[in-house]
Amino acid sequence: MRKFQLLLLNTIQKEFRSKTLLLVSIFTVVIIFLTNSLLSYLSGEILSQIGAEGAAQGSTQALVFIINKFTSLLAIVFGVNCIKSDIENNVAPLMLSFPVSRMEYILSRVLGSWIIVTIYYFVSVIIAQILLSSSVGSLIGGPHLLGAMFFTALSNLVVILVASFMGLHMPKIMAFIMTSLFSVLVTASNGYFKSKDWSTMTEEMNVFKGVGLGIHAIFPRIGNIDDIGRSILLKVEDMAFNIPMELGHYLVTLILFFSFFYLIFSRREI
């Protein structure tokens, strides 16, 4: 366990020095300040029309959307690099010469990257909330925001896991593109099938629908998870999701994908 913790810490230290993280963080802060300045400038007019609550909700939604996109970008970059960079720098054989299993090694790299991405995400959202609260003159955020952030973090874990798998099997740029494509495909198939029951899912079946249904069934439903987060953020009362069922599906498919990843990695020449 101690060796796993050391590897996890080593991953966090490695990713913390990433130039991508620095660049994205600076860009995020600039965007947050610009949005906030714009809101302050327009506040008198907006507040009179839609009220403080409406302005806060609209701004929060816009900022969280932007931050989510940056977070996804960061998750893909970190995911692609987290194991690949060890192999490129010939550090992986050293790490695996310690009494650690390949399972512990993958977990430490993926979880370490996820922790950094989640910290970036939480800090960005909190900065945005503080600034927005001061602009509209009332405290916004609260438990619903934390709930939304939790679901986005779950979605990022899948992206990092898939990106690290892709990174091991193809060049970085290709892995980046393939992971982005994976996210788009899963989100699109989740969007299409989310409100359908089993009988309507399978009627008028064709190849594209079959592939989409397969993706919807076997991969963690990051589209639905993101939608749940968004619904919580917007305080939607009649959500179209059964949250325990979605979380159960997420957990089972995540474990299955991780097991597949481990199976492939355990046979790999390092």
């Binding site: 101690r2 060796k3 050391l6 080593n10 490695k14 020095r17 720098n89 010939n90 550090v91 054989p93 050293l94 695996l96 010469s97 310690f98 009494p99 650690v100 299993s101 512990e104 046979r267 020449e269 390092i270």
Partner: protein
């Protein structure tokens, strides 16, 4: 105790045979040299020993199958080209290795001081890995071998990248570690150095073991170089 036991170990890369029916044993506390020409399968065997590559046959380390992570308990490995994250300083590399070997607190600090001193790199302690010369990086890798209570040291071409002073110091270090009862497994093709530090030898060619035994048994009345040449050339015919 046979700390390394290989029986009929085989490894193919597509149509290329890297190891074929390799069998050898390494006794605990010995300084063992795995010799062979380029492409003989030495590095493949080391990688198999560390579980980095899968192979056929039976390969045990500390009486455990190499796929078991516990087989690598108390093991330190130095690859031919040691490398570590560029932003780590020499001291932080040693600290990481020490912690992975179960050291902490004053024991860790003491081990770092000893390792820096033994390799004459105390003045490099605060330098980042990307600011070191090739020889300094290799010395840092060697210093890692001294972190913790390792029972078995696996060195892959350890003389690579070292200047004559470094080679002399490494030989002294290995002799010192040998006297402490550690098992030292060295993979090399520099016969003159191996002859001075190892007491057990195996010669590999084309993926199989031509001979294994004590240094005197293997070389007989010849020099190790002549014995090696005769055996390998004889096998090639």
């Amino acid at each position: 105790m046979q700390i390394i036991k290989a029986q009929n170990v085989s490894k193919n890369y597509g149509s290329l045979t890297a190891l074929q029916g390799l069998s050898l044993t390494v006794e605990e506390g010995s300084a063992f040299a795995l010799l062979g020409p380029n492409g003989a399968g030495k590095t493949t065997f080391v990688r198999a020993l560390l579980g980095l590559t899968k192979c056929g046959g039976d390969l045990k380390l500390q009486e455990l199958d190499v796929s078991d992570k516990n087989a690598r308990q108390g093991l330190a490995y130095l690859p031919e080209k040691f490398n570590f994250f560029s932003y780590y300083t020499v001291e932080s590399v040693l600290s990481f290795y020490g912690k992975m070997q179960g050291l902490n607190g004053s024991a860790l600090r003491e081990a770092i001081e000893k390792a820096l001193d033994a390799l004459n790199i105390t003045e490099l302690r605060g330098k980042r890995m990307d600011n070191l010369s090739k020889g300094q990086v290799q010395r840092t890798g060697l210093a890692n071998l001294l972190m913790g209570e390792n029972k078995i040291l696996i060195l892959d071409e350890p003389f690579s990248g070292l200047d004559p002073i470094g080679i002399k110091e490494l030989k002294d270090l290995i002799n010192n570690l040998k006297n402490q009862g550690k098992t030292i497994f060295i993979n090399s093709h520099i016969l003159s150095e191996m002859e001075q530090i190892c007491d057990q030898v195996a010669i590999l060619n084309k993926g199989h073991c031509l001979v294994q035994g004590s240094l005197s048994e293997v070389k007989g009345s010849k020099s190790l170089e002549d014995a090696f040449y005769d055996l390998v050339k004889g096998d090639d015919k």
